[in-house]
């Protein structure tokens, strides 16, 4: 049975979807899910589980799907993951669970992510209640940031009876899930909002528009507002620029700005006030998930869009599925190409991107072959918009206002890997704020570990 090909998942056709922001992947039907689940060998020593950062019992949930017991499947997943509808959509499955699937050795791996997504969507649509909340224990924990790390930590602790307040700097909770990842990959109303509503149902309080370090400090939360512990899940939101000439020209944006205007502020919808500028020809510099999201957004806003990446296609850090989708949508990949200057007209607007061709040289310390410039290969790409997607680092707002909170040279908060404990007592941290820009599932894993450690610390203290 395992030799059978993977059940293809229905998608919006590429021609239609580049004209809208609706979700690209339509997901499995119940029949399709059952058929795909049948490809799983239900391994005793399942390799897939080892490479899922939150160790979902994959064979167990898939066996339930096989038998059509979706509620049961949802319960299995809920034991390990608070945001399956999100992870099923955005996890880099090919390098995690699916990368280790036995079936994948000779054929195509079981579509674990798509099955997880199916179960989560089905559970939501059928209002399966997976949340069990213990009675209140009288302890208060503050969670800073409402991205996957914060939401997971909040959920875990709320379930154990803690009184949780999540403080979010923006006006909408969700972190990168709402401001970064576009609607066409992760629907906000149905998926993200529902997850947040579920937390509220468990009694989690969410205070938006509170910038920790500005509106109130961590010390005030602990000493004046009576919180017993704090979890920092403030992400890595500070965008990097290249430092090349012309980078402050009109028409040069960070991917964060471009995506925030579109996703959080909904600039693509006529009735929303926030403007977005996209020219006729756009160059997105970078090759990660963020670059793909920015490029595919620009394409949907009507621009001819190029990805400009200095290594070769094989090194693109983005998920394979996103690269594939981007290509289907007509994004042009200019690989082994590195920008050297942004050309600007006399009014300060972008007119072009000067680039140089690259080739791969010797492998560096990380084992990746280092791109080196090809002599005399400079050329100008005629573009009117440049979107910089070069990575992000943690924002110093919290570290600079919290005495004794240790950070490393990348501005990341130093925290114990197992517990999330920082250099400050009762202050824990996890997710991108600690690791630098990583993944949703790793942030969730960190939120979960910290919740367990906070519980142990406070319940230990109680006795």
């Amino acid at each position: 049975m395992s030799k059978a090909a993977r059940i293809p998942v229905r998608e919006q056709c590429a021609k239609a979807r580049v004209t809208n922001f609706d979700e690209v992947c339509l997901g499995y039907s119940l029949e399709e899910a059952i058929a795909e689940a049948a490809r799983c060998l239900n391994c005793k020593n399942a390799k897939c589980v080892g490479d899922c950062p939150v160790a979902i019992d994959i064979p167990a949930f898939i066996s339930h799907v096989k038998k059509g017991e979706i509620t049961e499947a949802a319960k299995v997943i809920a034991k390990a993951s608070a945001l399956p509808a999100v992870c099923g959509r955005v996890c880099p499955q090919e390098s995690q669970c699916e990368g280790k699937c036995i079936v994948g050795i000779k054929g195509e791996a079981v579509a674990i992510g798509k099955l997880e997504r199916f179960v989560a969507d089905w559970a939501r649509e059928n209002q399966v209640d997976t949340a069990e909340v213990e009675p209140k224990n009288g302890r208060k924990v503050a969670v800073i940031g409402s991205g996957p790390a914060g939401l997971t930590c909040a959920g875990e602790l709320a379930r154990k009876g803690y009184e949780i307040t999540v403080f979010e700097a923006l006006h909408e909770p969700g972190g990168v899930l709402v401001y970064g990842i576009p609607e066409f990959r992760l629907p906000k109303e149905t998926v993200v909002k529902t997850e947040i509503e579920n937390l509220k149902k468990m009694g989690v309080k969410i205070e938006t528009n509170v910038i920790i370090g500005k509106t109130v400090t961590i010390d005030e939360l602990l000493n004046e507002e009576g919180f017993d512990a704090v979890f920092i899940g403030s992400g890595a939101g500070l965008p990097k620029f290249m430092g090349i000439s012309g980078e402050n020209a009109n028409g040069v944006f960070s991917a964060n700005e471009f995506l925030t205007r579109n996703n959080l502020m909904k600039a693509f919808k006529e009735e929303y006030s926030t403007p977005i500028k996209v020219g006729k020809r756009v160059a997105v510099v970078g090759g990660g998930n963020v670059a793909m999201d920015a490029a595919r957004t620009a394409a949907r806003l009507g621009a001819e869009t190029h990805i400009v990446y200095r290594r070769s296609e094989a090194e693109l850090p983005a998920r394979v599925e996103e690269v594939h989708h981007a290509k289907e949508e007509g994004i042009i990949f200019d690989v082994l190409t590195n920008p050297t200057e942004i050309l600007v007209d006399d009014k300060g607007w972008v007119t072009g991107l000067k680039c140089i061709k690259m080739e791969l040289g010797e492998a560096d310390a990380s084992g990746r072959r280092k791109p080196v410039e090809v002599a005399n290969s400079e050329f100008v790409m005629e573009v009117d918009t440049v979107i910089m997607s070069l990575g992000t680092s943690p924002n110093p707002l919290i570290s600079s206002t919290t005495q004794g909170l240790e950070i490393n040279k990348w501005q990341c908060i130093v925290a114990d890997e197992e517990t999330g404990l920082t250099s400050r007592e009762r202050v824990y941290a996890g997710g991108d704020a600690v690791t630098g820009a990583a993944t949703v599932i790793l942030a969730m894993g960190a939120g979960k570990k910290a919740a367990a450690a906070i519980n142990e610390m406070l319940m230990g203290a109680k006795q």
Binding site: K214, T215, F241, N250, P275, K277
Partner: protein, 292 residues
Amino acid sequence: MYKIVEKRKLAPQIYLMDVEAPRVAKSARPGQFVIVKMNEKGERIPLTICDYDADRGTVTIVFQTLGQSTVEMAGYEVGDYFTDFAGPLGEASEFIYEDIAELKQERLVFVAGGVGTAPVYPQVKWLQQQGVQVDVIIGARSQDFVILEEEMKALGANVYVTTDDGSYSRKGLVTDVLKGLIDGGAAYDHVIAIGPMIMMKFVAKLTKGYNIKTTISLNPIMVDGTGMCGACRVSVGDEIKFACVDGPEFDGHLVDFDEAMRRQAMYKTEEGRYKLEAEKGSHTGGCCGGKQ
């Protein structure tokens, strides 16, 4: 939700509002700003904090109607709510970290242009309350546009008013008044200028000649206001700064004003552009929202 508890029209197109936002009121310091989002579909609008009252839990904003959002904001009345009001954002003015005894030895002058008079107010208030005597130069297009003059005087500051058309007090630009005061013997140690970009540029140019330390408050386009998008980046010396977290106040002698003015024009709406064009030719009128 953040309730509007007071609304006053200070001048044609300039409104003051007190908004209930207890957390912001408690932490606000002179020099900082807030981001207001009026409703679900609204944009995030940065506005300087003009006053704050921790006991009442209110924050005062003063804004000029420029384009779509500020015009819509002017339609909000007492009892209405803004869905979002985030802050305080940005760094507080540098002087609040200085030693008061030393501050008292310094001679400070504020240069306020148009609606930029409003963000000057909390700074003057803070200093006067600490016993630091300051001078304030207020410039406006005409008499109707002079705001907060009486309030500044009530704080005990020495106030000089000038209008572009001479309809009130004296005729001329704020830079003329500043130059007159300096040449007349006022040994200023620190000039703080807040107003239209072009005004701040010329103040900085003037004070550079006299080698007087000058602070200006930038108002670039912002989205989040928390350091996440980089829309607000400005060149200061040979560094790139994010005005929302590193500023909004910077050393006026290091800021690349021309670049900042070009960037400010990036998202002008049609109404905004119309208004800005109508105001061309004035250095002191306008607003702190930017003019070419």
